[in-house]
């Protein structure tokens, strides 16, 4: 294990190098570019033995990765924002074909208006495409996710593609000290990719076929079960990860001081760091507040959320996303989780950080303050501009 000073993108690239993908196909887009540049350098200097394919679009990036995965090769791609939307057709293709590809997505706003900064509307708009979706908080978690993503995606009971999300710029471009495991450690953790779901020259197969009304539901049901099984695979991966690397992760969510909390803020991604600090500050003032960080949006942590929130007086969801005409996508999912477990705790939704707008500690403190009051259910933080 070596300590290195790395950005989120670089940390993810180091994690990918440890996972030894056999094919990498990627197209550049801000703020993802550094991860593919870094991987290109690693291929050039010989420290990563991988076929690096310079595709001409994101659609081809994922289509190529699917082709590689369909013959049993471990494949990686990375994208962001418009690139994710451009390849959207291939997202359901990869998941429906049960090809365990890993993709890093640098969370970025989607046009219009054009904006290169971070919010999570890109990945959350694709929540239903059948991929595992994880959200990293910091560079260390990004690297660790890169390594764990293949373990989870390729798990026999899962066989589902994995989208690891890093907040654009705030995480992708921010430097932190990161523990980089050795190749020996990584090899001890991650088994070689073995699958029967592949085109095999010694045992020819037809894949990615049509299935009419009679068989279609069965395929979709199995796909659903595969994604649900990812929950156990996450636990298994994290347990083995702790054994080898020492670092501990907590499954689909991470609870921070929620046990006795009256007011809980639920969020995801890099903003959780600031929320944690704010929780500590407010706790010192005697306020019983807590943070629930969603680490995985799919499979969705229904039970974990209900368990963490059930004794609170109120909970808020803070997300960098809006499903226009309704509310934040995370909020919809959280309310569904609570309702199914008969948890009758009032909730509200804060939409912030759109197009890279800063969310301050004061903003977070204000959310906690407002939780004790009766408020509009869905509110935007810091609208500014002409939106007043």
């Amino acid at each position: 294990m070596a300590k290195m000073f790395l950005s989120g993108n670089e940390a993810f690239a180091y994690g990918i190098r440890l996972a030894r993908p056999q094919v990498i196909s990627a197209y550049p887009i801000t703020p993802q570019t550094i991860v593919v540049e870094k991987l290109s350098e690693m291929v050039e200097d010989g420290s990563l033995k991988s076929e690096f394919i310079h595709v001409e679009s994101e659609h081809s990036a994922l289509s190529c990765a699917i082709g590689a995965s369909s013959v049993g090769a471990r494949a990686f791609t990375a994208t962001s924002s418009q690139g994710l939307l451009y390849m959207a057709e291939c997202l359901t293709y990869a998941s429906g074909g049960r090809f365990p590809i890993v993709m890093m997505n640098a969370n970025r706003s989607t046009a219009l208006p054009w904006n290169i900064y971070g919010d999570q509307r890109d990945s959350l708009s694709q929540i239903d495409c059948g991929w595992i979706q994880a959200y990293a908080e910091n560079a260390q978690e990004a690297l660790d996710l890169a390594l764990m993503s293949y373990y989870i995606a390729e798990h026999k009971a899962v066989s589902t593609p994995f989208m690891a999300n890093l907040d654009g710029f705030v995480l992708t471009h921010t430097y932190e000290v990161v523990d980089v495991p050795t190749a020996e450690q990584a090899d001890a953790f991650l088994p070689k990719f073995e699958t029967e779901n592949k085109l095999d020259l010694n045992n020819p197969r037809n894949l990615a076929f049509s299935a009419g009304p009679e068989h279609n539901t069965a395929f979709k049901y199995k796909e659903h079960i595969g994604l649900l099984n990812a929950k156990k695979a996450v636990d298994e991966a994290e347990e083995k990860f702790t054994e080898i690397f020492g670092r501990r992760y907590t499954g689909l969510t991470e609870s921070y001081r929620t046990e006795d909390a009256d007011y809980i803020l639920i969020t995801l991604g890099s903003i959780a760091g600031l929320v944690r600090e704010t929780v500590d500050r407010l706790r010192k003032q005697g306020k019983k507040v807590g943070l629930l960080r969603i680490r995985y949006m799919r499979p969705f942590p229904n039970e974990e959320i209900a368990e963490a929130v059930k004794n609170a007086k109120a909970a808020a969801v803070l997300e960098k996303d809006i499903s226009f005409g309704n509310e934040g996508t995370v909020y919809t999912n959280v309310n569904s989780a609570l309702h199914k477990s008969n948890v009758n705790v009032p909730t509200s939704n804060y939409i912030g950080g759109l197009g890279g707008k800063n969310i301050s500690a004061d903003d977070i403190e204000k959310i906690f303050d407002e939780l004790s009051e009766e408020r509009a259910k869905v509110q935007f933080i810091g609208i500014g501009g002409d939106g007043k």
Binding site: C64, I66, G67, A68, S70, A75, L199, L201
Partner: protein, 297 residues
């Protein structure tokens, strides 16, 4: 010795499918796979051949085969080739079969990317001159004058107003190692081109005219005959591009009658004398260019 009808592999790799009677595309796929053999990995986009061959649980390819996205034939081929090579496997053919729409329209970008990278793949375009799988809509390879469901022939507009895009020369302009044109009317020529392409490293492209009786308005037993006639009347030609040079493979001694070729097909039956004159002039201009730019055997 080159492959021919007598030496062709007797194994079948594409059978039991639901293609219409007289389908030119399925003939091209069947013959190409016989030449390439069982260690072929075929990639077929959404389109006629995937629609007729991959209906679970009736899967009709005896070799490895997979459907790609409509636009993704070439990019998926790239991944298949790279994925196998990365595992140390080298004795295989990555072959794509896409129609005219999947090649010249929605799949052109990915194909261009693959040729640019010189990926070691063989891309075969079976050209039936319209989107036949969705019910005969115009593609950029639909010829001038042809009636399709989106270019109806009426009083105001007489079918498709634009000439056929020249995919062969577009592909050649990339500096591709090997490109060829073919027709299911001249199967020996096609087989030999597939065999030759299979031995060349890098990207290979073969464009084969494959009539669709349903879309062209011909009888189901006229496919091969009409595919021969399109070459004989000079509206299609058999050629290769290799080492930066165009080569004509077959020069008809005298062109057969264009009007007779056109009027056999219901898609052209509405054409006026003036339209037919336009088609003749465009044929003659093309052959002038061929004589100026192609090596003639």
């Amino acid at each position: 010795m080159s492959v021919n009808a007598k030496t062709l592999n007797e194994d079948e790799f594409f059978y039991g499918h639901k293609a219409c009677a007289g389908c030119g595309g399925s003939l091209a796929v069947r013959i190409a796979l016989k030449v390439l053999g069982e260690r072929s990995v075929a990639v077929l986009p959404a389109g006629c051949m995937s629609a007729v061959g991959f209906n679970f649980p009736q899967l009709c390819f005896g070799n490895n085969a997979i459907i790609s996205t409509f636009a993704g034939t070439a990019s998926m081929l790239t991944g298949v080739e790279a994925g196998l090579r990365a595992q140390g496997i080298t004795d295989f053919h990555a072959v794509g079969f896409a129609g005219d729409g999947g090649t010249a329209d929605i799949g052109l970008q990915a194909l261009s990317g693959a040729i640019d990278r010189n990926d070691d793949i063989l891309y075969i375009c079976y050209d039936n001159e319209a989107y036949m799988n969705t019910g005969i809509q115009k593609s950029s390879l639909t010829p001038f004058g042809a009636k399709t469901t989106t270019t109806p022939a009426g009083k105001n507009i007489r079918g498709n107003l634009r000439p056929k895009k020249n995919m062969f020369e577009i592909v050649a302009a990339h500096g591709i190692p090997y490109a060829a044109t073919a027709s299911v009317g001249y199967l020996n020529d096609f087989m030999q081109k597939v065999e030759k392409a299979a031995k060349i490293k890098g990207t290979k492209y073969i464009h084969i005219i494959a009539p669709c009786p349903t879309g062209w308005g011909i009888a189901t037993d006229e496919t091969v005959e009409i595919a021969k006639e399109v070459v004989d009347c000079g509206l299609w030609y058999l050629a290769e591009f290799e080492n930066g040079e165009y080569k004509l493979n077959y020069q008809p001694k005298e062109f057969t009658d264009i009007e007779s070729y056109l009027k056999k097909q219901s898609r052209f039956r509405h054409l006026t004398d003036e339209d037919i004159e336009t088609i003749k002039r465009s044929r003659d201009a093309k052959w002038d260019a061929i004589h100026n730019n192609f090596k003639i055997n």
